[in-house]
């Protein structure tokens, strides 16, 4: 019993210690951001590997999620004779929830894990140490551009996901199931609000981008510098990011729509 408590206590302390180190790293990254201003290329390079390389999975998933929403929404709405509201259902689900959340989850799997693995490997092969010995701060040169790129890419990816999803729903609803085209768009425009829905969706994805990249970069930087350590860190990135995104989503949803 006492052992159990001790174990719990030790784990609790470990969590706080890691949180502390992660926060410290975040502060260092933020403090180093100004050094990126004269060198936008560093960020562009990372937007490529974080954003552009995630594009395919985002577009494909977005299309299918939109199509499924169209199908499921139609089957439910048609019972109430309300299939004209299909556009509203598809757009609201995507813009408010699925767009930001699914994008963040896919991001964790595609870009977050890659970030962690890359940084972890750089640590394991002493590249980070070598940078330090060359009087180059790895936090500013390696971590900060990746952090900025992730933070900026996420809302763009989420917007692409939602837009593609709305088109997927349109394809199924209007193209295959015969919902009136005018009703699909006009009902959507009538009920989806720029501020309440679109703007809040973007805020959400910015928050997710922040958290997802923070976790990915921290896990990479904090990885035990062996191949096993890097693979563990990569797994942790995906798990923690998913949990953090879902938890944060609840909090943000409650704050935004919970009146």
């Amino acid at each position: 019993m006492l052992d159990l408590l001790q174990n719990l206590g030790r784990r609790g302390l470990g969590v706080f210690e890691r949180l502390g180190r992660a926060s410290l790293l975040l502060v260092q990254i933020l403090a180093g951001l100004h050094t990126l201003l004269p060198r936008p290329r560093l960020v562009i390079q990372q937007v490529f590997s974080v954003g552009v390389l995630s594009l395919v999975i985002i577009v494909v998933s977005g299309t299918f999620v939109g199509m499924v929403l169209g199908l499921q929404g139609y089957n439910t709405l048609v019972d109430f004779g309300a299939e004209e509201s299909l556009g509203v259902v598809v757009a609201l689900s995507l813009v408010r929830e699925l767009g930001p959340v699914v994008t963040a989850l896919l991001f964790a799997g595609r870009a977050g894990s890659a970030l962690t693995a890359e940084i972890g490997l750089m640590k394991a092969t002493e590249q980070l140490s070598a940078l330090e010995m060359m009087a180059v701060d790895p936090v500013r040169r390696v971590l900060a551009p990746r952090f900025v790129a992730g933070f900026l890419s996420m809302p763009l990816l989420a917007a692409i996901f939602s837009a593609v999803g709305v088109l997927g729903g349109y394809f199924v609803g209007v193209g295959l199931l015969g919902v009136d085209e005018g009703a699909y768009w006009s009902q959507m425009q009538d009920k989806v609000d720029l501020y309440d829905d679109v703007y809040n969706g973007v805020i959400k994805s910015l928050a997710f981008g922040w958290v997802a990249t923070w976790i990915a970069v921290f896990e990479g930087h904090d990885a035990v510098p062996t191949s096993e350590g890097v693979s563990r860190a990569t797994t942790r990135t995906v798990v923690y990011t998913s949990l953090a995104v879902l938890g944060l989503d609840f909090v943000l949803t409650a704050l935004m729509f919970g009146d």
Partner: protein, 279 residues
């Protein structure tokens, strides 16, 4: 640079250095001098913290006690900015080269120049080609690090380490895992670069023959202390048991064959302990 040759004032002075990691004492008050223009080897069995010593000199780690002075400046108390300035005067060759994997050979060597100078690109090109020529890899400049053999990667890393014309180069186990040919190339490179560029070299190694062949002075570390020092010849002739065990590769001696353990027979009888510890 030649006048400094005979200047007897050491480039690096280490006094009473004490360092501990995870409660284990790595260094217990060691004194070391790295003389200008010389190749100094730091040798010792694995796990004696030779690499740690290089990191302490580079300021990547902070000691618990003691002083490390580089060119008269105290490394242990230098602020971040100052430390970075000092590091521009040191080059470090990591065990496996530690080349940046997302750039080719040319960009790797150009990296410190681009980071720290505002030189125009044609001048950087000239410098990079000069450094690559010095290590004999000018023709490999378009290759990616993954396409290089271990020895070539180390030579590229060496070209990168001398890109900023440092005063001193720290070599971390440069010979480990090399075939005899590339080992020979590295040995010759370290010596010739030291001569031609007027460098000061610190070499951490446990390859006795190679290290001894190019070193002007050798420190032998064991158990967190300097157990023997001198030129290679002095060490071979010394009556230090440490030196003899290390140089001749004897399995038992001051460095015991057995990891410290309780009495063998008693240990066999008290078999439950490990199970309890595991649970």
């Amino acid at each position: 640079m030649a006048p400094q040759r005979d200047n007897d004032e050491p480039l690096v002075t280490i006094r009473d250095l004490t360092f501990r990691r995870d409660g284990r004492v790595i260094f217990d008050g060691i004194d070391l001098d790295i003389r200008r223009g010389r190749v100094t080897a730091i040798m010792g069995p694995s796990g004696t913290g030779k690499t740690t010593l290089l990191r302490l000199i580079g300021g990547q780690l902070r000691p618990e006690r003691g002083s490390i002075r580089f060119a008269g400046e105290e490394i242990t108390r230098a602020g971040r900015g100052r430390l970075y300035e000092l590091r521009k005067r040191m080059g470090m060759l990591f065990q496996n080269g530690a080349l940046l994997t997302d750039m080719n050979v040319y960009d790797n060597v150009a990296f410190p120049l681009r980071e720290h100078t505002d030189l125009p690109e044609p001048m950087i090109r000239d410098l990079v080609l000069m450094k690559l020529e010095a290590v004999g890899l000018r023709g490999a400049r378009r290759l990616m690090p993954s396409q290089l053999s271990g020895g070539m990667a180390r030579r590229v890393a060496l070209a990168r380490a001398i890109a900023l014309d440092p005063d001193m180069i720290l070599y971390d186990e440069p010979f480990t895992g090399q075939d005899p040919i590339s080992m020979g190339v590295l040995v010759r490179l370290i010596r010739t670069l030291n001569e031609s560029l007027g460098l000061t070299s610190v070499l951490v190694s446990h390859d006795i023959a190679e290290a001894a062949s190019i070193s002007d002075y050798i420190y032998l570390l064991a158990g967190g202390r300097v157990v023997a020092q001198g030129t290679a010849d002095q060490l071979y002739e010394s009556d230090s048991q440490w030196a003899q065990q290390f140089l001749q590769g004897l399995p038992d001696g001051p460095v015991p064959f057995h990891y410290p353990a309780p009495d063998y027979a008693g240990d066999l009888l008290a078999g439950d302990e490990d199970r309890e510890a595991a649970a």
